[in-house]
Amino acid sequence: MIPAAFEYLRAHTADEAFAFLQQHGAEARVLAGGQSLIPAMRFRLARPAVLVDINSLNDLSYIRVDAKSLAIGAIARDADVERAPWIADRRWSLIHDASRVVADPVVRQMGTVVGSLCHNDPAGDWTAVALAARAAVVVRGKSGNRQVGIDDFLVDSFTTATGEGEMALGVVFPMPDDRTAGSYQKMERKVGDFATAAAAVQVSMNDDGTIRSAGVALSAAGPCAVRVDAAERLLAGQKPGEELIRAASDAAWHRSAPQADLRGSVDYKKHLAGVLVARGLRQALARLGVQA
């Protein structure tokens, strides 16, 4: 449980952090909350030669909501999201749900949303949430900052679109319209466990009682979180009902391609993907006062 030797660099500004990363390239890793990176280093599964600690970059600790979006900086903690004053707003119910079930209360004091996206664990929670809520990650590269849509950002297990020497500065969630609610459904063996299966759902309604758009994503259902496009397509424009929910749930079952591990077998995890999407849809609709 002792990491291999490494060099530690503490950055004081984003520019400095970026300079360090540019200097050390593939050798370097960003240290955010350290809740994934430090354990991996202690098991010597990760052996970065250089750590660039960004925890002193106070201007990246922001959580800002305005008319257009919710923006979360690279060192805003999970616990800060969980306790944010705006979080009880129905429109953010997906994020609210997730903020209470990511890891455990102790880990949430240090862990970050952005760090979690950058880590891109196949069973991570924030990745599925970001897909369902259609977030984008702000990446700083040589040619300045760029926004990368979450679908492009999540490349493969533990791999993202941030290139060598680059870093993520924050994540942006578009402001959902008024008639929007979500739900995060996670099945875990105990508090603080990664998901056996999880479903992130966000639904926006039209005034006529049909679904305007839906975001549906799964965690622990493949190499990284996946969007259930088929479910999103079949929900859009439809009036909610049990049959519709069942169809979305079936789509989730088909989309889910999990690995068997100590958390569960493939068929159990696939089964859960379907069940959790159905439950998520029902809860999101209930939050909107819609009877499904």
Binding site: M1, I2, A5, D104, K190, D193, L262, S265, Y268, V275
Partner: protein, 782 residues
């Protein structure tokens, strides 16, 4: 810290634990807190293969790592005559560092000593071991076939470690054959690990007198001293074992592990103190596991539900060495308690144990050796029988309980149960849970297709090893001891051969002394764990501390009282025969006005003792005449989510009878802890190996320990049936909840699923498994 001003009654008082302020404030003192000048760190190279020949070990690169001082291998140890370590049971030996081949994944292969912990780990990583994989035996059933011989070093060329049996084989067979009804079920108590929060570790050094100073996280310091003397050849007076505060033990810290021997050898060879602290992974993968018993349970009964016979055939997986920390004279420990709380006219049990390419063990995880397995088997069996007969599970138990008037009760497998009132304990539990209302609710829910279950476990424990005729470790009989010194001011110190690791001895022992001597429990210090100062004892495990050391304390205190009576007579100017001990003081018979307190006597023992011998001290070595037999009735109520297999433990009532209760708060705390462990084994815990012998449960992500957030709410109550042979009537309780609760959980879940035709689910009852059982049952139903 004044715990209590007027200590008139000490026993039965829920006194707050004296040790807790220290622990809660982070002031506990553990082995890893120790540091000595020049101290080196030891890190072990461990096998990546479950079974392989070692072609070569190359330490050149390791020795080049800055800070690395030395590397030793099995060959070095063998040359020094330290290649093997006897196991506590005495039937086998264990490699300290692998010689020639490795027999389980994570086995100790080489020891690296370095200036810092990091350098030691780097050094261990740099050791190059060339392995040639051998065929792996990953389960006892494959082992049985003897196709691959795992231990050619042993005289008998078979993987079978032992066959052991107890009871009347033919009688049981006949009775089963002629029984109107019978059930048979294989149940597996999976491999578990006690996973104490503080892993194993030590610091070893030789002082200027040439004495080995050995600081170690041990539940049995004296046994370690003797074992180290036997293993290393160092004279026992030159060994000083000190166990500081322990961060849990649960049986895991009874055996002596290879790391300890390596640390001592390193300290001797290099001449500097050596610290070895396991990682979590090392603790889970190489130190004493528990259980791993596959049990075929058969019960015969009359048509109206009277049990006629019990037969249990067990296949046990002991791993690569028979390192079972079994202190009894019987290879399967006290598995013979498998007849449980029931009046079986005849019974027979047999156990066959096998080597496999898995970590060696097992140990008694919060139980007397193999009692949890036995209790689980019989309590599952009784529920299956109830289901088979269509009789209510509580009713069937009532019908077959050993009655109050049958004690002392000789069981069919040779135990003499001391006392109990099983009917009463069950009644209290059923009333507390509201059994009848629950049955009604369940019937309504079943009609609606909802899955609700009620599970009982009415277990009998056997603790307090032990009568020395049945129990020993390496030949040392299992008595225990106490030494009490009362100081001139009425304060005092107690030392015992046991060693607290969370049980609260610092409080309970003080209460016993205070009760027996009429002193302030707050002013009685308890010291354990130092072999230079404590009287010889066998340590703390198997719920033996209160039954054995607690009895020794009581008897030593009574010796002090006898001496004190002489001094009191002198102070009261009365004849000794005219002085009586009443209401926690000495008085002249019938003249309450003429009395002295123990405090006054204590002062006089050093200042005004007349012709009496000065001082007020006593020692007592207690060899219990019998074990004690705590019992309990547990009821679990669960709701099962049909869609996901999720089980909610809605309620859990635990009624324990542990005889006289010394500190009810400590007893309740012990029960809460043990129930939580039982819950964990029932639902989430297993040391899992794949078919190739790879250990999959190597850290707390893969071996789950419940936190307060998912642990159910426990409701506790008690009945009191004192032990007739213990001087205070106490029986021991620490293990009861761990022994008794797993069956209650499984019985509840199976009860919930029984309308679907499910008859058994093995632990851990993961959601996946429960969901699968539901799905399979539904699909066979069509």
């Amino acid at each position: 810290m004044s715990i209590q001003a007027k200590p008139l009654h000490s026993v039965g008082v829920p006194m707050k634990r004296k040790e807790d302020p220290r622990f809660i404030q982070g002031k506990g003192h553990y082995v890893d807190d120790l540091s000595f000048p020049g101290m080196l760190y030891l890190s072990l190279v461990r096998s990546t293969y479950p079974h392989a020949e070692i072609r070569s070990i190359d330490i050149t690169e390791a020795l080049k790592v800055p800070g690395v001082k030395a590397v030793i291998t099995g060959k070095d140890l063998e040359a020094a005559g330290l290649g093997w370590l006897p196991t506590f049971h005495g039937f086998d030996k264990q490699m300290v560092l692998a010689i020639g081949k490795v027999l389980f994944q994570y086995q100790e292969v080489a020891a690296v000593f370095a200036e810092t912990r990091a350098a030691a780990v780097d050094g261990a990583e740099a050791v190059q071991v060339d392995y040639a994989p051998l065929p792996v035996v990953a389960d006892p059933f494959t082992s049985k076939a003897d196709k691959v011989l795992l231990r050619p070093d042993r005289e008998s060329k078979t993987n079978r470690i032992f066959h052991w049996e107890v009871g009347d084989k033919d009688g049981a067979a006949r009775a089963l054959a002629s029984s109107a009804r019978r059930i048979k079920q294989r149940v597996w108590f999976q491999r578990c690990h006690p996973a104490p929060l503080e892993p194993c570790g030590c610091v070893a050094y030789f002082d200027t007198m040439g004495r080995l100073q050995f600081h170690v996280t041990s539940q049995a310091p004296h046994v370690y001293r003797t074992a180290l003397a036997l293993v290393t050849g160092i004279a026992e007076d030159k060994i000083h074992v000190i166990s500081p505060d322990l961060g849990g033990g649960f049986g895991n810290k009874v055996p002596v592990y290879p790391g300890y021997v390596c640390a001592i050898v390193g300290a001797l060879k290099i001449g500097r103190p050596v610290k070895w602290i396991e990682t979590r992974t090392e603790n889970l993968t190489s130190t004493g596991f528990a259980r791993d018993y596959h049990m075929d349970v058969e019960i015969g009964a009359t048509a109206d539900g009277r049990v006629t016979a019990l037969r249990v055939a067990t296949t046990a997986d002991h791993g690569a060495f028979d390192a079972a920390a079994d202190p009894s004279r019987y290879p399967a420990g006290i598995f013979g308690i498998v007849t449980g709380s029931y009046d079986f006219p005849v019974a027979y049990a047999e156990v066959d144990a096998f080597f496999t390419n898995k970590a060696p063990g097992g140990i008694a995880y919060r139980c007397s050796f193999r009692v949890t397995e036995a209790s689980y088997a019989i309590e599952r069996g009784m529920d299956i029988l109830a289901d088979e007969l269509g009789i209510d599970a509580a009713e069937l138990r009532r019908k077959n309980f050993i009655r109050k008037d049958q004690f002392p009760y000789p069981s069919a497998l040779g135990f003499t149960y001391d006392s109990g009132d099983y009917h009463k304990t069950l009644d209290v539990a059923l009333e507390r849970i509201g059994y009848d209302a629950l049955l009604k609710e369940q019937a309504e829910k079943r009609a609606r297709g909802e899955l609700m279950g009620i599970g009982l476990s009415t277990f009998t424990e056997v603790v307090g090893a032990g009568p020395s005729k049945h129990f020993d470790i390496l030949g040392i009989r299992m008595f225990d001891s106490a030494e009490i010194r009362i100081h001139p001011t009425g304060a005092g110190i107690v030392r015992t051969g046991t060693k607290s690791q969370g049980q609260g001895h610092e409080t309970t022992w003080a209460q016993i002394v205070a009760e027996e001597l009429g002193l302030d429990a707050g002013a009685i210090m308890v010291e354990e764990g130092d072999t230079d100062t404590a009287p010889y004892g066998l340590g703390t495990y198997a719920s033996r501390s209160t039954p054995v050391a607690g009895a020794a304390i009581t008897m030593a205190a009574r010796r002090i009282r006898e001496k004190a009576r002489k001094i009191a007579a002198h102070l009261l100017e009365a004849g000794e025969a005219d002085v009586e001990w009443t209401d926690y003081r000495f008085q002249v018979k019938g003249v309450p006005a003429r009395s002295v307190t123990m405090k006054e006597v204590a002062f006089a023992a050093y200042t005004n003792m007349a012709q009496n011998e000065p001082g007020l001290e006593a020692t007592y070595y207690y060899d219990p005449p019998n074990m004690t037999y705590p019992n309990g009735a547990y009821v679990a109520v669960v709701d099962v989510d049909r869609e996901t297999g999720e089980v909610k433990v809605r309620r859990f009532v635990a009624v324990d009878d542990c005889g006289t209760v010394i500190n009810p708060m400590i007893v309740e705390g012990q029960i809460h802890g043990g129930l939580t462990e039982g819950f964990a084994m029932a639902f989430i815990q297993e040391i899992q190996y794949d078919a190739e012998g790879n250990n999959l449960s190597t850290n707390f992500t893969d071996y789950l320990v419940p936190t307060s957030l998912e642990t159910p709410h426990w409701e506790t109550a008690g009945t009191v049936t004192p032990s007739p042979h213990h001087p205070m009537g106490a029986k021991g309780v620490g293990e009861s909840p761990n022994v008794g609760s797993p069956a209650a959980f499984v019985n509840a879940v199976v009860d919930a699923l029984s309308p679907l035709g499910v008859r058994h689910i093995d632990m851990p009852m993961t959601r996946d498994k429960v969901w699968r059982a539901i799905r399979d049952a539904e699909s066979t139903k069509g």
